[in-house]
């Protein structure tokens, strides 16, 4: 009796010692994987796992960029409609240049330029115009969607290029290409955040902008770059998504991506107020959302209820982080 009690307090102390904001997302992923594999025999199948990872890669890649925006004290609501906008242009380019290898390269190059330019537009108004990021990106959120609809003439963007769909459908070493992109980007951005001047400055600005300014940091430049990074990542997602579907629906493509991306960032332990955050955490945050979705599907929960569960996961994650600090 007594031993079990000491064991309990020991575990309790051990749990108290763990920095939840750091390891919380990892623990959550492990718990979810174990629980899911008991709940459904299909869960651990390779095909299911790669599917889940592929599904999260689109918003996951965007969330990696969003991590920097949020760490530096900003927010970007425009990423979802930006995805549709750039995706539409990608398909126009692929078709225009004949659907071959060259066409695909041109399409990717144009997408990256468009994404970066769209991000730069957000960043410019926020830093030079000194308008709150929420307002600016709420505005561009509406603009990108409307431009997409205008260009499409309210029809779908479609391509018949078989080669193009290889990017989104293809595998390398049995792992889908979008997942590779997500993993490589996570490693790259992790280093960018933790080991470079840019990452350090972004954290400093999000923690205390005045101190950053007095410390000779070019605050506007760093913030501007965070929006360009996000725009670039949106472009990559647009390419992967449009090639997977071989089409972009101007009304629904990318819809709600901004919320999934922000949710992944927050669940991953980045403070919404900025200053601290983790790129790996964002990846784990995206995985958590992916597993929850997958389990709800496997268990046959009504798709109408999935939004509720996802909402609860987000609120719960933030509550746990609050409790610790």
């Amino acid at each position: 009796m007594k031993t079990s009690k000491t064991y309990l307090t020991k575990t309790k102390n051990f749990l108290k010692e763990i920095d939840l904001s750091k390891y919380g997302p990892l623990i959550a992923v492990i718990v979810l994987v174990v629980a899911s594999s008991f709940a459904s025999p299909y869960f651990l199948r390779w095909r299911n796992i790669t599917n889940v990872l592929r599904q999260i890669s689109y918003t996951g890649i965007i969330a990696l960029g969003m991590t920097f925006v949020i760490i530096a004290g900003g927010i970007d609501l425009s990423v979802g409609s930006m995805t549709a906008f750039v995706g539409g242009i990608v398909i126009i380019m692929v078709n225009h240049f004949g659907g071959g290898v060259l066409a695909i390269f041109i399409a990717i190059a144009v997408a990256v330029l468009m994404g970066a330019a769209a991000g730069a537009f957000n960043g410019l108004i926020i830093t030079k115009g000194k308008v709150a990021p929420f307002i600016v990106t709420l505005g561009t959120w509406g603009m990108f969607r409307s431009l997409t609809l205008y260009i499409s003439g309210a029809g779908e963007f479609r391509t018949n290029s078989q080669l193009f769909s290889e990017i989104g459908m293809g595998y390398f070493l049995n792992i889908p290409i979008p997942v590779w992109v997500l993993l490589v980007f996570t490693a790259f951005y992790g280093i960018l955040l933790n080991r470079t001047k840019f990452g350090r400055y972004a954290c400093a600005i999000g923690s205390n902008e005045r101190v950053a300014k007095y410390s000779a940091i070019n605050v506007s430049k760093i913030k501007f770059i965070t929006y360009i990074i996000t725009g670039f990542n949106v472009a990559i997602t647009s390419v992967l998504l449009s090639s997977r579907l071989n089409s972009i629906n101007p009304t629904t493509a990318g819809s709600g991506f901004e919320l999934d991306a922000i949710a992944a960032v927050i669940i991953g332990g980045t403070a919404l107020s900025g200053g601290t955050g983790s790129v790996l955490g964002t990846l784990l945050g995206a995985i958590i959302l992916g597993i929850v979705n997958n389990m709800l599907n496997l268990l046959g929960v009504s798709p109408y209820l999935q939004g509720t569960v996802r909402g609860l996961v987000i609120i719960g994650a933030v509550l746990i982080q609050r409790q610790r600090s």
Partner: protein
């Protein structure tokens, strides 16, 4: 005659087993101005937090107006007539002055509506009594630090307190404002209000207080009438040893100017047509009233504040574009006035704070070398005796004095040739002040030139080779040698005497 208002009996306080206050017995009489002094960590704040109910004493009894108060908390304290003017402001930036003064104690016209007219009227009267040029409708976020202090004082006296605790109320006030405050304190004391006055400024303590109590390391050291002790005695008792000379010997600078400022004005008009020279190895003091434009001048030189016209020359070379980065690259470092909001990042670790300006030095192949950052930090910790739980501690876990050291080291790590100190001794105790003075002296010995901005005339006079006095955005006089006296500085600062420079 002497009727005790506050009495304590063997009060002691422990925090997780560490005794920070031991066996304190005091009697404070009605209408008395009671000075409380001691170094940082001596237990002053703990003692007043017991008196105003924020802390519960671990041992001992507390009496107010002869009756024992057993369950003390901040609400009870307010109820029985204890108000505190805290060291850190407790004001809401987005509200007006009168809304702040009556926050939580609003007058109602009826059950629904506030009686704004009455609150504004009362605020107006309070401000007139304080001779403060503040309108009840001013927003807190838009008034100066000194004005905020006045609002805090008005807030405390608005509640007709019996006991008023003032924790360092004069650190941001000018001599004139301090005089007004002191005459108000004397009036209150005549009306029977008891005041506990905490300050690092011993001259003020001697001037305004009837008795002064010294605490050191949580122990009672002495309680004497201020007529019986000198400032020097008080300082010695606080530190616990004989203090030698407060200021190090000044050394004459070289003739060669390292910084020349010619006709500098800022775009917002806070700095107007300012010219001066700083010589190599010189300490140039900047005196003036709060709001005279000293910090603004520093910020314009640094490129933080936008320049309208004028030239800045560093070692004869003109700075073309001004940005903070350019100032740093040209060897200018700045220790800002307000440590918390401009100096350090509280949730960053020590090394990340120290390398924030000079980060480029720690980069190899685009990556920050954490090892080099840590090694350098360890060197600084040893050299400047910075007290840290560990090298990687976050700044918020350090005491104020140690945060100030980190802020200093951060600027020093840029290897400056010109170092601008903006109120470096505000709110720190005597030993820490002497450390700073000696540090500045070592800097000039090694050929670095220093601009020393301070509102403490004594410091300016003790430290500077020359003193530039600012008034309304411009330099109203530069004093040298025998001219450097408190009177002459005040003449220039208030505009009673101006001389072309």
């Amino acid at each position: 005659m002497a009727e005790p208002v506050v009495e304590t009996e063997n009060i002691a306080k422990e925090f997780s087993g560490v005794r920070v206050l031991n066996d304190i017995n005091i009697e404070i009489n009605r209408g008395e101005i009671f000075g409380l002094i001691g170094e940082n960590g001596a237990g002053k704040s703990t003692l007043i937090k017991i008196i105003n109910g924020i802390y519960q004493p671990t041992e001992g009894r507390f009496f107010f107006e002869g009756e024992e108060v057993e369950k003390m908390d901040p609400f009870r304290a307010k109820e029985i007539g204890i108000s505190t003017i805290p060291q850190e402001f407790n004001l809401v930036d987005h509200l007006n002055v009168y809304e702040n003064i009556f926050l939580g104690q609003e007058y109602q016209k009826n059950a629904l509506l506030l009686d704004r007219k009455r609150m504004k009227q009362m605020t107006q009267e309070l401000m007139e009594e304080l001779e403060a040029d503040i309108s009840p409708e001013d927003r807190i976020g838009e008034i100066s630090v000194a004005q905020k202090q006045m609002v805090e004082i008005a807030k405390a006296i608005a509640y007709e307190s019996k006991l008023l605790i003032m924790d360092e109320p004069t650190t941001v006030l000018t001599s004139n404002e301090i005089e007004v405050l002191f005459s108000l304190m004397r009036d209150l004391s005549d009306q029977g209000v008891t005041i506990v006055y905490i300050s690092h400024k011993l001259r003020e303590v001697k001037k305004i207080c009837n008795r002064v109590m010294v605490l050191r390391d949580g122990e009672f050291i002495s309680l004497q009438s201020t007529d019986e002790v000198t400032e020097h005695d008080m300082a010695n008792m606080m530190v616990g040893r004989e203090l030698n000379q407060m200021f190090p010997e000044t050394t004459p600078p070289e003739e060669e100017p390292v910084l020349e400022v010619k006709g500098l004005s800022s775009r917002d008009g806070r700095v107007e047509n300012t010219s001066f020279q700083l010589k190599k190895g010189e300490i140039l003091g900047f005196a003036g009233l709060v709001g005279a434009g000293r910090t603004e001048l520093a910020e314009t030189i640094l490129g933080i504040r936008e320049k309208k016209e004028g030239e800045i020359l560093i070692k004869g070379e003109k700075l073309e574009v001004s940005s903070p980065r350019q100032a740093v690259d040209n060897g200018v470092a700045y220790l800002p006035e307000d440590r918390q909001s401009t100096g350090i990042i509280a949730n960053f670790e020590v090394p990340k704070n120290i390398t924030l300006i000079s980060l480029q030095k720690y980069i190899r192949n685009f990556l920050i070398s954490r090892k080099r950052e840590k090694d350098k930090t360890q060197d600084y910790i040893d050299e400047f005796n910075i007290q840290v739980p560990s090298v990687d501690s976050k700044l918020e876990t350090l005491s104020g004095g140690n945060q100030q050291k980190v802020s200093l080291v951060k600027s020093l790590d840029t290897e400056p040739e010109i170092f601008i100190f903006d109120e470096p001794t505000r709110g720190i105790d005597i030993s820490a002040k002497m450390d700073i003075f000696n540090f500045i002296n070592e800097l000039v010995q090694s050929g670095i030139s220093v601009i020393f901005i301070s509102s403490e005339l004594e410091e300016i006079i003790g430290m500077a080779n020359r003193v530039a006095v600012m008034r309304e955005g411009s330099i109203s006089g530069i004093l040298e040698g025998d001219e450097i006296t408190e009177e002459r500085i005040m003449y220039h600062a208030t505009g009673l005497e101006t001389r072309a420079v």
